[in-house]
Amino acid sequence: MAMIEKVLIANRGEIALRILRACREMGIQTVAVHSTADVDAMHVRLADESVCIGPAAAKDSYLSIPAILSAATISNADAIHPGYGFLSENADFAEMVEEHGFTFIGPSPDHIRLMGDKIAAKAAVIEAGIPVVPGSTGAVRDADHALEIGKEFGFPVIVKATAGGGGRGMKIAETRDDIADAFHFARAEALAAFGNGAVYIEKFLTKPRHIEVQVLADNHGNVVHLGERDCSLQRRHQKLVEEAPSPALNASQRAEIGEIVSKAISKIGYRNVGTIEFLFEEGQFYFIEMNTRLQVEHPVTEAICGIDLVREMLRVASGAPLGFSQADIKFSGHAIECRINAEHPETFLPSPGKVGDYHAPGGLGVRVDSGLYSGYTVPPHYDSMIAKLIVHGTNRNECLMRLRRSLGEFVIDGLHTSIPLHQKLMEATDFINGDYDIHWLGRFVEKSNDSDDE
């Protein structure tokens, strides 16, 4: 593959600006595509060229494959970066991009397709040596069999109807004393609900963390992992704060899971960036899924590794080999990202509209990725994330202090934003102690809103 000279950025918002910046720093020309609602977007203003590809509705613009490929054709782009969301994990899009003679800046369509199919993905990663949530194969015969399996996996476990769904025919057994009851209950309910009493057993995680491992692979067989990110601070499956390294891992656990993941990626033959997401509980990792794209939270990894992931994506896509091996990658300090959304910090109602004064925090260790500017109007059609504040410090405490300081300097007038929620979070003892799981944020928000109402 030849060096890429002009990239079409098939995305919007902060990530489009992120990609544009990386291109500009590599001397690569940029083409911004945008809907009619995004004509004033920062990255559209900054791009070398821009093409309007459709109306505000994403399905007719950012999700329209013909519009994007036509824009690439008329602008003579030679590669397309999909960003995240939209078409980034659409294998058909990746395939069509390549069929039309453009370079897709990401993994192969086959790998996107494989990881997009939950069952096939799980089978593939098991084969490649990645740990998954243990589950019984075939139906559980009787209560004794259930106990045997429960002891193998370790309690708690969950008994689930093979034909099940919608939460019926499911029962958790907290300890070995509960397993017989749970088995009989689940079987009876399964029989009543689905006419099929067959049940299977899975290990049940009560308070897992969400920890994901970033990988980077080239087309020449080189694979490295860039450590993990802890993304346990989620609410309704939306990540709000991410950090690296995870407060729950030590260096040997990091090296161990990293090596497992690198080997698996190598075996699967994956290329470009990717993330393996895990649940983590009591020292064990359990595969959730693989994201075959750049992630929102990639900057925390960049901060602790000193590696520009978008630059690496472009280099790998142009056929270049990685310029470093695993031994060259050093983790330095701690980084936290706060996602700042245009939404009410308590009700979470979206808050699009015109930005009044805008002033981003500055100084040592502070990075802001945002397409906002004073006078910009946040359109109501898309995701509410309007800025990312990424802070780096030599250790987690320094990082937290810097985050407090910079959240206090951040001015986004005219909209409700999640800044006040982040400020509350930074004062929460559990968060300060790194003591949280994937359920923690939901409870924190509820409690915090309740106490505000008093």
Partner: protein
């Protein structure tokens, strides 16, 4: 076109005022001297045009931009429903579908737009007379770009 030679625009004067405006941060300048009267202004939104543009974006002269804007606002404007390449005839050897001054009927093909190797006919939304053709054959068009004015 018109019979009498219209007084020409002194582009240099306008440019000078524009650069003065740029320099001073003004948003409007009206200037009258020796029978010439010039008023230039810059809308608040575009005030951000001194802004973070490292390389100039889509090359479009201010005058062309204004024309496009006017065309976009015209009620008889047919806009491009997609991004692609516009063609004024079915093949290079054939005559153009329409020329300025033609009377067209509703549903008549005005242009073709090629997107993804498919040629999409652009049909007249209503009967009328073609007063302007704003694109050239073979040129790229964006979504929403004015193509033709039918009055």
């Amino acid at each position: 076109m018109a019979k009498q030679p219209k007084p020409d625009i002194d582009e240099k004067l306008v440019r000078k005022l524009a650069s003065l405006m740029e320099e001073t941060g003004l948003t409007e300048i009206e200037y009258g001297v020796d029978g010439i009267n010039i008023r230039v202004s810059k809308s608040a939104n575009i005030a951000y045009s001194t802004a973070p543009v490292a390389a100039p974006a889509v090359p479009a002269a201010p005058v062309a931009l204004e024309q496009t804007t006017n065309a976009a606002a015209h009620p008889g404007t047919v806009k491009s429903p997609m991004v692609g390449v516009v063609y004024t005839s079915s093949d290079p050897d054939s005559p153009a579908f329409i020329t300025v001054g033609d009377t067209v009927s509703e549903g008549q093909t005005l242009l073709l737009i090629e997107a993804m190797k498919v040629f999409n006919p652009i049909l007249a939304p209503k009967a009328g007379r073609v007063t302007q053709i704003l694109v050239e054959s073979g040129s790229p068009v964006e979504f929403g770009e004015p193509l033709v004015i039918v009055e």
